[in-house]
Amino acid sequence: MNRLQTLEEFDQWQLARQQEYNPDRPVITVCGGTGCRVYGSEKVWEAFRSELTRQGADGDLYYDVKVTGCHGFCERGPLVVIRPQGIFYSHVKVEDVPEIVSETILGSRTIERLLYVDPVSGEKIIHEHDVPFYTHQKRLILEKNGNLDPAEISEYIAGGGYSALAAVLRSWTPEQVISAVKSSGLRGRGGAGFSTGVKWSLCAANVLKTGDGYIVCNADEGDPGAYMDRSVMEGNPHSVIEGMLIGAYAMGVHQGFVYIRAEYPLAVKNLRLAIQQAEELGLLGEDILHSGFDFKLSVRLGAGAFVCGEETALIASIEGRIGEPRPRPPYPAESGLWGKPTNINNVKTWAAVPIIIRHGAEWYARIGTEKSKGTLIFSVVGKINNTGLVEVPMGITLRELIFDIGGGIPRGKAFKAAQIGGPSGGCLPAEHLNVKMDYESLTSLGAIVGSGGLVVADEDTCMVDFARYFMTFTQQESCGKCVPCRIGTKAMLETLTRICNGEGQPDDLEYLEELGSHIRASSLCALGQTSPNPVLSTLRYFREEYEAHIYEKRCPARVCKPLITYRIDVERCTGCMVCLRNCSGGAIQGEKGQPHSIDPEHCTRCGVCRNLCKFDAVLVA
């Protein structure tokens, strides 16, 4: 690749790539997101390559095979889409590939068994754009994820990429960029929801005073159950780089960092490759497209500390110290990396910037609600049929998200709660299914938008155990610098553990509420301040479950081991010996053909017998 010297050269190069990448050309896209790779999508991709050659379809038809970023519908992986028709096959295995090539590619016939079946109507759906999981979404940031090869900068550019940067360098002043971002209404997608434009203008003013500064992309996505930042990095890394370039120009900054989790190896690889390609093409580096604007971007790997998602801890980590937060003010906009003004934004915030510049701030501000503009990405996981990444306009209801897009709860179980915002967020019960998904509405009910993690719990989820799970997480991840977080989370966890073990005391609930409010008020950073939320919100909506544990020594969801017993229904047991052979505690006795029994003394309550029993003879009470 030759370095592009001027804006005109960029325009010409982009035009040439657009002619090369006809959007109507035949191409098979195989999802290469982490989820689909676990299902074996790489082998599917290789099989297409060799099968097209073998059956001769690569010659006449010029079918191209492409590995793309995450399509979002992780539940159904590996996903294959045959374009331009948009034929959608899910759960594709290597063995299916020869038939897809001979039937669909060469024979123009769809293969029924690989089609997606709508669980509601029972209908088979042929085209990707008709699958309900996608039809209810509004994909802006994830738009290109399903058909872009993240390893090819030319594809991103052919699809209009880096035009926003070119436009800004050509004719926008930095003030105009900031003013557009402000009027678009974009708010920080990392969770706090602060106005991005205002944040930029604060940093820009300080850069002007001191003459130097930094920008950082926060890709330390540590919230367990959220993986959209990873998918954007994996599937469309250039959108983040372009957003950062525009931001750097607007704030007068010449150096940036992407702080990314080392646990995301594919995202790191794709991002590094993207930076290298952008450098080679002259879109990163000195005097970009002869505009006089310089920008250097480096990658820093996180070393596995959740607290480093907090901006002052992140700064400490990039500087090579332990990731302990410090009190604010001064805010990073005033004194950040190495004491210089620094602006930190989340992956999705940066990726939204080129979209705003390309379509206009007014266009963007028309999406969403009065105070929450644009789209949000949720990772919808847990007890839900369509696990995956969804991008929706702000203001969509929780019900639409879980039932229309998410396809409801598996095995006909009842919806119990949605935990939104991870360890900093809260649980919402069924009575709030009509809540609008925007910053204000969620906060008013005790949840938060946060990182966008949305975990669905059904009737088999114990809310006390769920709250204890999050408290275990924050307690482990507390950096230990401030007392309320270090000792407070520990005390809350101990109390929750006692309740789960059936040793709860009547005044425990008041104690949890009081302690929670102190931790919230007095912790140093957001990790501590928000850590009581999962407990406080479950106490608010599921108090009776806590009370059952404390007063009746009973776990209504039958999860907490000390409060449940396993026994065998002698009427149903056929004496097949399957449970007996697999019992880890050696607690099951019985002869072949005779009903078995479980010795509660030795039973570890692991549940293997119940999972294995074909006759539903193992009962839990």
Binding site: V38, Y227, S317
Partner: protein, 158 residues
């Protein structure tokens, strides 16, 4: 694995670009040896001009670093929220009891290291166990038993 001072020095020099690359250098050493040998920490202190105590604090703060050598096979059980609600605690319990070690520990024969991770971002496939970088999805107690058996069988043959 033999520890080579020259090797460590080369890693530090490669990674020591610009300011604040101490963590990057430690990550590279960890990657090379699967832990941070004391020789490496002492050398890094010298090369970066940073007190040994500060490097020790960094090495013990972040989950990615280990001061103890790890076992031949590394098992990571994902404890993310989605995996949790789908039963990862039971899977972890089972592996703990089969191997007789707790998360963070290495078995006395140095064959296994058991770890927990907070979300690998493949939530649709939960519960997930990663064995030496290889992901296994939709784990159950039975599948965990099978996984351990497969590794042990390969070890016996080898």
């Amino acid at each position: 694995m033999d520890i080579s001072i020259d090797d460590i020095d080369r890693i530090i020099n490669q990674e020591a670009f610009g300011e604040g690359s101490l963590i990057a250098a430690l990550e590279a050493i960890q990657m090379r040896y699967n832990y941070l040998p004391s020789e490496a920490i002492i050398l890094a202190s010298d090369r970066f001009g940073v007190p040994l105590s500060q490097i020790y604090s960094v090495a013990t703060f972040y989950n990615a670093f280990s001061l103890k050598p790890k076992g031949k096979h590394c098992l990571q059980v994902c404890m993310g929220t989605a995996c949790h609600v789908r039963g990862s605690p039971q899977v972890l319990d089972r592996i703990e009891s089969k191997l007789g070690i707790q998360p963070g520990d290495t078995s006395s024969d140095h064959l296994f290291t058991l770890e927990t991770v907070n979300c690998l971002g493949a939530c649709a496939l939960g519960p997930i166990v990663v064995t030496d970088g290889e992901y296994s999805g939709q784990m159950s107690i039975q599948k965990a038993d099978q996984l351990l058996k497969t590794i042990l069988r390969a070890e016996v043959k080898a």
